[in-house]
């Protein structure tokens, strides 16, 4: 929409020629300037500029849908109204069916907690035919840290979905639907996902997994956080628009980092309100935060936090527009992740965003073990 050509809108011929003469060809060029600047640049009076901008804006505006038709579209066109079941009952009911289509879902947690396991299982279940709860399509798995192991995937499949996997040749075919990419650098990744945009619909891709986003950025030796934030900005927009355009779920994993001492989480007026409220307690182990910054945190629609607390692993729905903040204990078995209890405990307060890693060092890294 932004790249609509001015020449193709119903502007008066004389005016569109003037625009073209000054190299203002697309709607984006015209609307990136204020009306005043356009007036000066194009040497036309304000009334003409205003009517030209009105026409350009009308042509470049996105179409209007009512929320009802949005819902109807979802119900009609999408499998399970646009959700990919995770086969974890508690989580699926909390997320109204599963990982939603069209948005970016983030998995964040300390190393070794089970993010890649979760992703691999999700990739597998997406490749199943619809009768078995899958999306009957291909999966693109962008594996930055080389954690993907097809053997593990098949093992998970055999243990969790025996009825599917014991059919002849099913295992091979399912595993074959998962395409693994291993980009070596950020620019490599950028090129791949740009190419993906065209081929996603053609090749029936139904799920995109990026494991992990943080590793891609930390691999670059960029000077300073600002540059990194800016680069990330483009990727955020692109991934979101890709998810929406193709109506597929995108799952991204993120790592944790320790919080700087300088980072406070207060507004300027909060100093004033201090006398009435509780002190923000800083315990020893709540010094981990999700990497990739606050911009990224704003941009993802659903955030699932995996953490370890007193020897127990917990998965929390930290940010979701449609679920209360629930936490479920889980463990990793040979069949992948499974919930220990389907009844989540509701966590109030900002604690849902805290990431604990205590008592975690003695957890076995399942990956390294089985091979």
């Amino acid at each position: 929409m932004a790249n609509k050509l001015i020449g193709e809108m119903n502007l008066h011929k004389r005016i569109s020629n003037i625009f073209a003469a000054r190299n203002i060809i697309t709607a984006k060029d015209a609307l990136s300037m204020t009306e005043f600047e356009l007036m000066e640049l194009l040497d036309i009076g304000i009334k003409e500029i205003q009517s030209a901008v009105k026409l350009i804006s009308e042509a470049a505006s996105p179409p209007c849908l009512s929320a009802q038709s949005l819902l109807e579209q979802k119900v009609e066109n999408e499998y399970l109204s646009g959700h990919l079941p995770t086969h974890l009952k508690g989580l699926d009911s909390a997320l109204c069916g599963g990982i939603p289509f069209g948005v970016v879902t983030e998995l964040v947690g300390p190393p070794g907690i089970g993010k890649s396991q979760f992703c691999m299982k999700l990739a597998l279940s997406a490749s199943f035919p619809k009768a078995y709860g899958g999306l009957d399509g291909r999966v693109i798995y962008i594996d930055v840290e080389s954690k993907f192991s097809s053997r593990r995937v098949i093992e998970m499949g055999l243990k969790s979905f025996p009825e599917v996997f014991h059919l002849k040749g099913m295992a091979q075919e399912m595993a074959g639907r998962i395409l693994v990419l291993r980009p070596t650098s950020l620019s490599d990744f950028t090129d791949s996902i740009q190419e993906l945009k065209e081929s996603i619909l053609q090749n029936q891709v139904k799920l995109l997994v990026i494991d992990s986003m943080t590793a891609l950025l930390s691999g670059e030796n960029n000077p300073g956080a600002q540059r990194q934030q800016h680069q990330l900005g483009w990727h955020i927009s692109f991934l979101k628009s890709l998810a929406e355009f193709a109506r597929i779920p995108i799952v991204v994993t993120n790592q944790v980092r320790s919080q700087n001492r300088d980072e406070t989480s207060q507004y300027s007026f909060q100093a004033k309100l201090k006398d009435g409220c509780q002190e923000h307690t800083r315990t020893y182990d709540s010094h981990l935060v999700a990497a990739l910054g606050i911009n990224w945190a704003h941009a993802v629609t659903i955030r699932l936090v995996l953490e370890a607390k007193s020897g127990e692993r917990i998965i929390k729905v930290a940010k979701s527009p449609m679920s209360p903040p629930l936490a479920f204990p889980f463990h990793i078995t040979s069949g992948g992740i499974s919930l220990l209890s389907d009844e989540g405990t509701e966590l109030k307060g900002p604690g849902i965003n805290n990431i604990h890693a205590r008592g975690h060092s003695d957890m076995i890294n399942f990956n390294g073990d089985c091979l």
Binding site: F36, E40, L41
Partner: protein
Amino acid sequence: MAPLKHLEMENPIIDACFRDFCSSHGILTVEDFLLHDIYELAALAERQENADRLKEGITVMLSLIEVKCRPWLNGMELLEDMQRSKHTLSSGDKETDSLLQGGLREGQLTELVGPSSSGKTQFCMQAAASVAEKQDGSVFYIDTGNSFSARRIAQFICGSSDAAALRKRVLSRISCHTVYDIYTMFDTLQGLEVALRSQVQKNVNEYRLRLLIVDSISSLITPILGGSGSQGRALMVALGYLLKKLAHEHNIAILVTNHTVGAGESGKTKPALGETWKSIPHVRLMLSRDNRNSNCTISILKHTSMPSGQTVKTTMTRNDNQQYL
């Protein structure tokens, strides 16, 4: 002033001959006339046949120009004018009045600078209420951000007896206009000027306009300032001069608000609108609010008759000043 031929109607001396003579020397408009060397022109006129008529024409031109230009005033006259017609208006806040030796002065353009939510709009509304109530004048409030609240102004009125009638009287002296771009602003001010001039002629003295508030001028100027051309800055300067002219000719105090922008990595804030704007207001005040309590500090950045740097603390609370029904 227009091209020379338009002057013919009222001044028949400036006829076609005169105009031809002028155009032969490259003079087509009054401005060209002014830029040309008058003595040289007179000398050249001598050489022509109708020298006397031409010289008469030149004299008439000069007198016309003199009529248009502003009268000379000497210091005594200025002082008298100041004492007679340019009073100080209380801003409604005692500490500010003491800082400014009386308050807002008529004939001057006062600028109030401050970061967001520091209380600029509150200050403006308080000043409007004070002038309308205590100084028997009317107030013209130009609002660019939908922040004019009649209810809040009513809270600033603190008369003791007959509250409702007083409120009605005071509030009807404040008129509010919403303006969302610079050209509409010029139109509004132009219309105001015409209205004031006609009022002067009719000598209507009821509720003379005493205070003009623009809240905030920076939101009108920021979209046009900067960029590739300098027309934005020219418009800003033109606006400043128009305001000052209005203030001086009609004895109005003008209060405008401006916001602050960050100045690089040092984290210090400075007023928006740049260097050119700095010299336009007569008085510049900086308002800052302490977040820990409701104290505001007003400091003088620039004043025509006081040293800068003086500050005063004042409490501008956001609570109701009094209950009313």
